[in-house]
Symmetry: C2
Subunit: 157 residues, 2 copies
């Protein structure tokens, strides 16, 4: 199956609906609730206009996406980035699209003054852990074997 071989690109506001479709597909594939394409599109239009969110897209139409949010942090002079989502459509996995997207994402982070990139990876998803380790990510600090777990609490208003 052929696919667009052009390198990944930084998404603009006009890509919001395409990203929304990919994220909605993502959650459908992994049986996670999604607010739906319309709600996601509206949020992405707002987010991509601001400074705290960017997305990397691969393919036209897009077949892979990385969604990143930025925040400040007292331990770094620059920003801290969290890779919120990385998705490649099922039919095009194993072709290096995810790698190209992550590399573009990391380059974009550097260009935007990011000092630290973070990601939460499922405990049992050893393939994803290996993938991120190949791309320079670590779950432990140098000289330590201790990892950290992600904890969360939803606030229902």
């Amino acid at each position: 199956m052929g696919h667009d071989e052009r390198p990944p690109r930084l998404a603009t506001v006009t890509d919001a609906e395409e990203i929304a479709r990919l994220l909605d597909d993502f959650n459908t594939e992994f049986e996670t609730a999604s607010p739906g394409v319309e709600v996601l599109s509206a949020r992405l239009r707002a987010l991509l206009k601001g400074d705290a969110t960017f997305a990397t897209l691969a393919g036209t139409p897009a077949v892979g996406v990385a969604l990143v949010t930025l925040r400040p942090n007292v331990w770094y002079a620059g920003h801290v980035a969290l890779l919120d989502e990385l998705y490649v459509v099922p039919a095009l996995r194993g072709l290096g699209i995810g790698s190209a997207v992550v590399d573009h994402m990391t380059s974009t982070c550097r260009a935007r003054g990011v000092d630290l990139v973070e990601i939460n990876v499922d405990e049992e998803d050893v393939d994803a852990q290996r993938f991120y380790e190949r791309h320079g990510f670590s779950s432990t600090e140098p000289g330590s074997s201790e990892r950290a777990f992600y904890y969360y609490q939803e606030l229902v208003s």
Copy 2:
């Protein structure tokens, strides 16, 4: 040993140096590098002026602190908060100061339209895991036993 029994409060820019001292003590205690009180103070003054960071303080002078950063997220209409640091001075632990600080921090998040609060907890720090679970945090989604590991990559410019 007595301590200030007044409830925790939201920090202002004028608390920057006091927070910086606590964070520097934190890193000294856990043998982690710190850029030092002066650098941290300057960063905190800038951060606390903005909308993306707040801190909860307990005691005068402060003996406990929670430092929180906010970012947007496509899956939520509101903000996502990360509890970057929670610290209580060693001599005053076990008195409920950490609990009071976390409760104030969570209330502040609600008041600021936060939909999700996140924290990364060391794998071997079972006491901290129990503490956060008592305060409504979870490492797994409902119906799942799968946790997620925190991965990171520092970008050296």
